[in-house]
């Protein structure tokens, strides 16, 4: 029976991924095992060359970051940096948080905002009219006043 993998391909994969088949791409694992079963001495000879280097690489110390680094990174997280695109939904999320209740609060507050805007607009309109009336009255008073000063009036 002809194997699915050639010795050359086996050698190339061992040279790239090492002796541990678990590190090989999934699609090559089964054919590699089949080839080892068919040609054990040649394949294990190739794998032996890679085992030493695999062990050396596994012996490299793994550096664990300190708590200080974690805290320093988290301190550098400023929400204002992250939010460089503005959205109404994002603003509500910042004010009210997330979740069903938060959405309820947000909805009620929008209603109150719209209602207060409408009332404010109505009252504001009234005030504007009053101001105009006052202005007209002021002008009338101004023109009712005599420009000719009566004798002794300025003293």
């Amino acid at each position: 029976m002809k194997p699915d993998m050639s010795m050359e391909q086996f050698g190339d994969l061992a040279a790239a991924y090492g002796a541990d088949f678990e590190q090989w791409p999934m699609e090559h694992q089964e054919p590699a095992i089949a080839l080892v079963a068919m040609r054990p001495s040649e394949t294990t000879e190739l794998l032996k060359q890679e085992v030493g280097l695999d062990n050396n690489l596994a012996a490299l110390p793994r550096q664990r970051p300190g708590v200080d680094l974690r805290n320093k990174i988290l301190r550098s997280f400023v929400p204002s940096i992250a939010t460089d695109t503005f959205s109404i939904a994002g603003l509500f999320e910042i004010i009210f948080g997330r979740g069903k209740h938060a959405r309820g609060f947000a909805f009620v507050s929008v209603l109150l905002l719209v209602a207060s805007g409408a009332v404010g607009g109505y009252l504001g309109g009234d005030l504007l009219i009053n101001t105009q009336d006052t202005a007209v009255w002021d002008v009338q008073v101004f023109y009712d006043h005599s420009f000719v000063l009566e004798p002794g009036a300025g003293t």
Partner: protein, 178 residues
């Protein structure tokens, strides 16, 4: 999670740091062979995350892949700068390295030999070995991080392993001859 970070959710930021900080430090440590620089790189990666989270479009690539790519590229930049400095201060550096190696215990000595050998590899070979052998990442993701094909990655891996084996063999011969 990235969307939450973009809206300023500090809990999401915390989760992201807890999930990826170890890997970022490990990659930079193996690439640069310097624990302090490795932490600086990790910090820079997360700063880039905070700034770019809002611009992130899901679907283009995995966020994890993007983070690893940023880390590798930051390491390339530092290696490039280091090489420029190294060329200017070569004799002193070599003496210091030799003294340090003599003072270490056996296990540390082996690790140091490998680290030194790794340091002698081309940056791209080092990146390929770091991602596939030390981070145990799949070949497709590693190739995507390095923005190369799987075939190119495999070629980098075999050349890197061959060079590493040769360097270690050379070191062993030197030690035996002393």
């Amino acid at each position: 999670m990235v969307r939450r970070i973009a809206t300023g959710d500090s809990l999401a930021a915390q989760q992201l740091v807890d999930r990826h900080l170890d890997a970022m430090v490990a990659i930079a440590r193996h690439m640069l062979n310097d624990p302090i620089e490795a932490e600086d790189v990790a910090q820079e990666v997360f700063l880039k995350v905070w700034v770019n989270a809002a611009k992130w479009k899901p679907g283009a690539a995995l966020f994890r892949t993007w983070m690893h790519r940023v880390a590798i590229n930051l390491c390339y930049d530092r290696l490039r700068k280091k090489r420029e400095i190294y060329m200017e201060t070569l004799p002193e550096q070599m003496d210091e390295d030799a003294t340090t190696a003599e003072q270490t215990v056996e296990q540390r000595q082996i690790a140091l030999q490998i680290e030194t050998a790794m340091g002698g590899l081309a940056p791209r070979q080092r990146a390929a070995l770091t991602l596939c052998h030390l981070q145990e990442m799949g070949n497709i993701e590693a190739a995507s991080i390095m923005e190369i094909s799987v075939e190119a990655l495999e070629s980098l891996l075999s050349r890197g392993r061959r060079a590493l084996r040769a360097a270690l063999h050379e070191q062993k011969q030197e030690l035996l001859s002393k």
